[in-house]
Every structure is written in structure tokens, then in C-alpha cells.
């Protein structure tokens, strides 16, 4: 039965219509199938990314009640939201905080991740799997939930970290109460969460450096610092730049950690773009201005994305 059913269409389509036309039909069928197969993807990309992006730009030009364009005093009508933001001190504080947070956190994550990967690479490969599995756990727990644990550890009255400090004789730290400590706390949590990701990426890259290069360097009498500087780093340069830029995008747009840990406080001084956009757009109900805050992230993200794409393309060419 099954065999009959599957051969029947072949029988009807195969006969003497000639080689050229059947090839043509194949090509036609191939492209139609390809279009059919990519349609769901296109629906997602256009309907849920491209259209919202355009719609977001439109939204950011409207006034609060979305009845017309937002007037501007020195910027043309439609750019009023951007004008108000550029003139607001809070917004500039948010912009600075986003940059400080993203840059510090990414540099620290990259350094800690590189160091961890290096240490892991040193130990016998039998034990590596176990260690790697353990060290990646912070990355596996949803960040919104693990930040709750950090919040509890930073709690002003019950801070378990301060308890440990007190044992050693360090004075209690106002983790989330004071501006710079709160900023540092957010960075600490982000580094804790993200460093294992860097470790995994760098470990994979370290393993792909050919052993002969190190042997050659050792024969030439290179010290371990020179091996790192002249063999490891050049071989890993591409993957380092890809991960750093990628992480810069994700960290710059981070929301969960700030929302759970400080919710922007004390006095709106720890807001980053995402949490501020949320506060202005959703909580205060000024959707157009919230959209405008989000859009300020776009230039920086676009620059990073451009270089990531270039790095990935270059890497693919190298591997081929």
C-alpha cells in the first residue's frame, strides 16, 4: 500500500516531458518550497522586530496622550520628547550610569572570565568538565531570581555579607543605600552572572590554539607571560572582541538586575536606559517618552552589532 502510494505521483510526473522541463519544475518547486519554509521566520522578523522598530520610532514622536506630534522648542515638532530628555538632568544621569555600568561590568567580566578559563585550561582535562559545570551555574539560574538572593545578601538590616565583614573587622557597607555602593552592587551582581559565560567562550577558544605554537614558543625560551602575550592573545583576539562587544550590547540593555536589586533607587541614581524607559513608559504611562528613552540605546547597540557581525564573518572565513 505504502509503496504504491509513494510511487504513484512519480509515475504520473516522470514520463517523457523531457529533461529540461523537469529540471525547470524542480527549480521552481525548490524556490517555492524555500519561500514557504522561510515565511514563518519572515513573519517573526518583520511582524515582531522590524515593524515594532518602525512603530517605536513613530511612537517616540507623539505627545503624551498620543493625539498628535510632540512639540519641540528648539528641535522641530515630533522631536519634542528627545528635546525634553536631552534637557533633563535625570536622563543624563541615566545615560552616564548606563555607560559606567556597561563598560566596567564588561571589562571585569572579560578579565575574570579570561582568568577562570586560563586556570581551567591548566588543570588535567579529566577534572575540567566537573569544574566547568560547577562554575557555569550562575549563568544557568534566571538572573531575575538569583538577583533576589543577592538582594537578600545586601539587605540593610540582615546583610550576611556585612556579617562576614564584621567577623573580619571591616565596617558595615550600606550596599544598596548609598549611590556608589548601589552602583557597585549592580556591577558585582552582573559580573557574577556574566563572567562564567566569558569563561566558557574563552575556554573553547583556548582549546583551539594549536599546541605546537606553545611548544615552538617554549623552545625559543618564551616565558609564560610572553606565551600569553604573543601566542594566546593574538590567536584569541577575534573571539575576545566578539564576546566583549556582544556582552556590551546585552549589558548595556540590561534590565532584570537593576529592576530587582535597586529598582532605580536611591533617588533614581542607579537607573539604566532600560529600567528608566520602563519607569517612564509603562509605570508613569508616558509611552512616547519611554519609547524615546529606549531609542537612545540604538546608536551604541548598532555600532557594537556592526563590529560583532564583522568579527563573526571574518571568523567564518578563517575557519573555511
Amino acid at each position: 500500500m505504502a509503496a504504491d502510494a509513494s510511487t504513484a505521483p512519480n509515475m504520473s510526473s516522470a514520463p517523457n516531458s523531457g529533461r529540461a522541463s523537469s529540471l525547470q519544475r524542480l527549480a521552481r518547486r525548490r524556490s517555492t518550497i524555500a519561500v514557504l519554509m522561510t515565511t514563518p521566520l519572515l513573519v517573526v522578523l518583520i511582524g515582531l522586530v522590524a515593524y515594532p522598530a518602525g512603530y517605536g520610532i513613530y511612537l517616540s514622536t507623539l505627545n503624551r496622550r498620543m493625539t498628535g506630534f510632540m512639540e519641540g522648542e528648539w528641535l522641530p515638532t515630533g522631536l519634542g520628547n528627545f528635546e525634553i530628555l536631552l534637557e533633563s538632568e535625570t536622563f543624563w544621569a541615566v545615560a552616564w550610569q548606563s555607560c559606567i555600568f556597561a563598560i566596567t561590568a564588561v571589562i571585569l567580566k572579560a578579565l575574570v572570565g579570561f582568568w577562570l578559563a586560563h586556570m581551567l585550561h591548566h588543570i588535567p582535562s579529566k577534572g575540567q568538565r566537573k569544574w566547568r559545570g560547577m562554575l557555569l551555574i550562575p549563568w544557568v539560574i534566571p538572573p531575575a531570581l538569583s538577583t533576589l538572593g543577592w538582594w537578600w545578601m545586601f539587605d540593610p538590616a540582615y546583610s550576611s555579607i556585612n556579617w562576614l565583614f564584621q567577623v573580619v573587622g571591616i565596617p558595615a557597607v550600606p550596599w544598596l543605600g548609598e549611590k556608589w555602593w548601589a552602583r557597585l552592587s549592580i556591577i558585582i551582581v552582573n559580573v557574577w552572572y556574566g563572567a562564567p559565560f566569558f569563561m566558557i567562550m574563552y575556554l573553547a577558544a583556548l582549546k583551539s590554539v594549536p599546541e605546537q605554537l606553545y611548544e615552538a614558543a617554549a623552545i625559543d625560551g618564551a616565558t609564560s607571560w610572553q606565551r600569553l602575550r604573543y601566542v594566546t592573545l593574538p590567536m584569541m583576539a577575534n573571539i575576545i572582541s566578539i564576546t566583549v562587544l556582544f556582552s556590551l550590547i546585552v549589558t548595556f540593555a540590561n534590565y532584570d538586575i537593576v529592576r530587582v536589586l535597586t529598582n532605580g533607587g536611591p533617588r533614581d541614581l542607579t537607573h539604566v536606559f532600560a529600567s528608566y524607559a520602563f519607569q517612564v513608559g509603562i509605570l508613569s504611562g508616558n509611552i512616547p517618552r519611554g519609547a524615546a528613552v529606549s531609542l537612545f540605546m540604538f546608536p551604541i547597540l548598532a555600532i557594537c552589532a556592526f563590529f560583532v557581525l564583522r568579527g563573526v564573518t571574518r571568523r567564518n572565513k578563517e575557519q573555511m
Partner: protein, 299 residues
């Protein structure tokens, strides 16, 4: 060991440097272990401390005297109260429904698209593949406000189906991207052989590509699962009533009530909510890591 020691004794002048290299290596190894133990302690402290807190009674947590790092009267009450709490059960069910539907949708969309993009060169396929990667780099916080309006316009605010609608923006681009990489690495000879044998394109996908690229599919599925389970921005923005909340936002917003923090329950809830991804990770670690590194190294 002993042979090396013997050569050292016999020819000290020649192998002296080798011996020092060996001891240098040993010190490097010891140093590596010390730093790994140190960092493992730091990296594991928050979850362990959450576990410690979740095993305490509220009275013990409120007691400011004594060491907060030890449990004097361990109890599972916090876990039991959550498991029997219908609100928390609702969060869990919502999370499961959203995650299962999103993962299924994601895998169908991305496998079909990746197959077409990797194998059937057609007009614009190269541009589309680059576009997929670029959308993967678009963070959710950039577009959540217009999406809030769009979802609101469809009447899906405050509903898990609104989440099902928007979560694919988080999962589809990356899954498609790594599936393109996996499919592209399958030798062309395989599909030529299949074509000669008269296989149709769908047959080729089902009988060759999916079985051969199974590790990639598992990695992509794990990715889609962890991302939809952990998603936070969209549910925080779109969902306001507890009955439609998934676990992440449910634990963060509903267990933290006013000024009274029931930390035992909060930590227990957070750990329970984190359990599914951790279990998946524990059993499928190699696939998980393959998926993680695939984004930058493959494709």
C-alpha cells in the same frame, strides 16, 4: 616520575632547566586549583545562601543575633507552603504552558527556515541570514514599548498568549542562526545522494537533516527553553494580574509584598523556579555549552 628523577641526577647540567620547568608546572597547577576553589566559593555562595535561608523559619530569619550562614532548625515548611499555594501553582503552570508552546513554535520556525537558508540558495537568502543574526543582537529592552502597544492593540495584554506571541523574538533568531551553522556543516554529498534516489525536499529534511543535526537541535531547544523560562522584561511589562503571571515575575512581584518580606518563602520560590533550567543543564551540560559557544564560533 622516578625515571625523570634519575635522569636529573645523572645529567644535572643538561636537565636542570627541565626540572625547574616541572616544578614551575606543579606550582602553576596548585595555583590553578587554589584560584578555582576560591572562585567556585564566590560563584556558588548566592545560591547556597538562598538554600540556607529557604530552610529557615521566619522567626530564625528575623533573629539578628547569631550567624546567618547556619541553619539551626532546618524546616521544609517554606517549600511546602509554596507547593500547596494555588497562586504559585498557577505561576508554574503558566510558565510551563508558555515555555512549551514557545519552544515548539521556535523549533518549527527555525528548523524550516535554517534548512531553506543553508541549502536552497534563493534570492536574498544571504541577506536574510545576516538579518537573522542582526535581530539576535537586538535586545528585548529596545522594543518592549512598541510591542506593549502592539500586544495591547491585539487585546493580549495581561494574558499568557501575549507572551507566547512575543517570546519568539527572543528565541527564533539565535536558534535559526545556529541551525544554519549545523545544517551547513552536513556534507552536500548526502543530499545529492538523496536527490538522486528521488527524495523530495521535505523527505530530505525529515530523514537526513534532522537526524544528522540532532545535537544542534537539542542545543537550540535547550536555548529556547532557558530563554523563555527566564524571560523577565516582557512579562513584567505585559502582565499585571497574578493569575496570568509566569514564575519569574510571579516570584519577584507577588512574594515580595509591601514592607513585609517573607524571605524564607522568597528564596524557596526563587530556587524552585530556577530548578527546571538547572536540571536541564545538569543532564544536558555538553549540549548546553555547545549551544552557548555556537553563536560566535559557528554559523
Amino acid at each position: 616520575m622516578s625515571a625523570a628523577a634519575a635522569t636529573n641526577r645523572d645529567m644535572p647540567s643538561l636537565y636542570g632547566t627541565a626540572g625547574s620547568l616541572r616544578s614551575e608546572r606543579r606550582w602553576a597547577l596548585i595555583w590553578a586549583y587554589i584560584s578555582l576553589i576560591f572562585s567556585a566559593i564566590i560563584l556558588l555562595t548566592p545560591p547556597v545562601y538562598m538554600l540556607i535561608t529557604s530552610l529557615k523559619t521566619s522567626a530564625e530569619i528575623a533573629d539578628q543575633k547569631g550567624n546567618p550562614w547556619i541553619v539551626r532548625n532546618p524546616t521544609l515548611d517554606n517549600y511546602w507552603e509554596l507547593i500547596t499555594n494555588s497562586l504559585f501553582q498557577g505561576f508554574f503552570i503558566n510558565s510551563v504552558i508558555v515555555t512549551v508552546v514557545v519552544v515548539a513554535l521556535t523549533m518549527v520556525i527555525s528548523i524550516l527556515a535554517a534548512f531553506a537558508l543553508a541549502r536552497m540558495r534563493f534570492w536574498g537568502s544571504q541577506v536574510l541570514a545576516t538579518g537573522v543574526f542582526l535581530t539576535y543582537l537586538v535586545p528585548d529592552t529596545l522594543l518592549f514599548i512598541p510591542l506593549y502597544q502592539i500586544v495591547g492593540g491585539l487585546g493580549l495584554l495581561n494574558s499568557i498568549w501575549g507572551l507566547v506571541l512575543v517570546y519568539p523574538t527572543l528565541t527564533v533568531p539565535f536558534c535559526t542562526w545556529i541551525m544554519i551553522g549545523y545544517f551547513a556543516s552536513i556534507p552536500k554529498e548526502l543530499d545529492e545522494a538523496a536527490l538522486i534516489d528521488g527524495a523530495t525536499w521535505p523527505q530530505m529534511l525529515m530523514k537526513i537533516f534532522i537526524p544528522v543535526a540532532l545535537p544542534g537541535i537539542i542545543a537550540a531547544t535547550i536555548f529556547a527553553f532557558t530563554v523563555s523560562w527566564a524571560a523577565f522584561v516582557y512579562p513584567t511589562a505585559f502582565i499585571t494580574t497574578p493569575d496570568q503571571m509566569p514564575l519569574t515575575i510571579g516570584v519577584v512581584s507577588q512574594l515580595v509584598r509591601g514592607d513585609v518580606f517573607v524571605w524564607g518563602q522568597i528564596t524557596a520560590g526563587a530556587l524552585l523556579a530556577a530548578l527546571p533550567p538547572v536540571i536541564v543543564y545538569a543532564f544536558l551540560m555538553d549540549y548546553y555549552i555547545a549551544g552557548l559557544t555556537a553563536g560566535a564560533t559557528k554559523g
